[in-house]
Amino acid sequence: MPLEPFHPILTLSGVGISCTRGERRLFKDINFQICSGESLIVSGANGVGKSSLLRIMTGLLRPTSGQIKIDTLAEGEPVFSIMHYLGHQNSLRDPLTPVENLVFLRSLLDVGNPAGNIEDALETVGAVKFSNLPTGVLSAGQKRRVSLASLLICNRPVWILDEPTSALDASAQIMFADVMASHCARGGIIIAATHLPLGIKAQELRLQL
């Protein structure tokens, strides 16, 4: 894919992050730092707070203490504007076709970067064949492929992924490893919570109870 490298170089860091949900302390004093072109894998047992940590990184959830810093952002500029968050759900609406879903997500998450081409993105994730069926009739793995295509078209430098490869078959996992590798090669950042090996070189942040 002939995509231009992201600039400027980003450094994303978390300092002393703690999270308490209700009465339950999930984790405390988490520190990490990650620069453009690198990736970070958040691992740990179920319920240890991986998803919460990812949501804190996107700014959707406030940490109980500590903060997320991004060096190139001006004061007051929202953290999320450089991020694309893909949670457990696929961010797709069932009655719409994959193409319609992607057209909408592209304009929703537009940040002025030249957006990717939808046909190319669907081609890359191997979703061309079912791109005009209602999303509701697709299998879990097919929906996941479409949802991964949204990463390519929205073109934001930092990808925050929660279990990105769940429901994907072996060939799609290899495809996605390539996609992630080329995202890092152009200076993107990937932060993923996962139990499965993603097939990319990454730092590991292990959360413990």
């Binding site: 609406r93 304009s107 998450l109």
Partner: protein, 216 residues
């Protein structure tokens, strides 16, 4: 962005169904049931008609509101709404407009037809349509705040109605009073319009605040 969101909302409404047609059917059934309770005397029905039609419009508007944010929340898109560079307030205002286009507007336009069933005086029909044209968006906007507050609850539908109905009372009072007035443009109508404009300002800000708090 606004156009993309509006197209999406209208497409969704058309494919899911249950927007315009179901709202109208609900309205029709309410209006058809009420004479059975009150009795067929047309003088009494005509006197009650504006109130009945307004309450029917209120209930028909509430009907689909619990899905207003819920569907996007279930699919994880609400998170992305918050991560958009377009202000959340604007996004949900567009959503409210789309919702009104498929529920409130058809109701307001069809109201004279239902008025006939209640032997509403023909002279009152223009002001009935006018008050509903102003009133239904107001109801949608008030309801949107409730929908934003209850989005994180799985079964928020009933709670939503309990929260919202008290706040619709002023609109109901002035709406019905405006239909019953002699002139088409009258003081209650102006009050109704004032409520509508106030909600237009408050509702997007309040709903956006409720949604942001709900993320925590």
């Amino acid at each position: 962005m606004i156009r993309a969101l509006l197209t999406r909302e209208l497409k969704l409404a058309a494919r899911i169904g249950g927007g315009a047609e179901l709202g109208l059917m609900f309205f029709l059934i309410l209006v058809a049931v009420i004479p059975f309770a009150i009795g067929p005397e047309s003088r009494i029905l005509a006197k009650l008609a504006p109130a009945i039609l307004w309450i029917a419009a209120l209930l028909a508007t509430l009907l689909g509101l619990d899905r207003f944010f819920q569907a996007d929340e279930d699919d994880g898109i609400l998170d992305l709404f918050l991560m958009s560079n377009t202000p959340l307030e604007l996004l949900i205002l567009v959503k409210a407009f789309a919702h009104w286009l498929v529920t409130g507007l058809p109701l307001a336009l069809a109201a004279p037809l239902f008025g006939l069933m209640l032997s509403l005086e023909p002279a009152l029909m223009p002001s009935l349509v006018l008050t509903l044209l102003i009133g239904t968006p107001t109801l949608t906007l008030i309801g949107m705040i409730g929908a934003a507050l209850t989005v994180t609850l799985r079964k928020g539908g009933m709670l939503l109605s309990v929260l919202i109905l008290p706040f619709t009372i002023p609109a109901l009072i002035f709406g019905v009073a405006a239909v019953n007035s002699d002139a088409v443009f009258n003081v209650p109508l102006l009050f109704l319009a004032a409520i509508a404009l106030t909600m237009l300002v408050i509702a997007p800000v309040a709903s956006a605040a409720a949604l942001r708090l709900g993320r925590e």
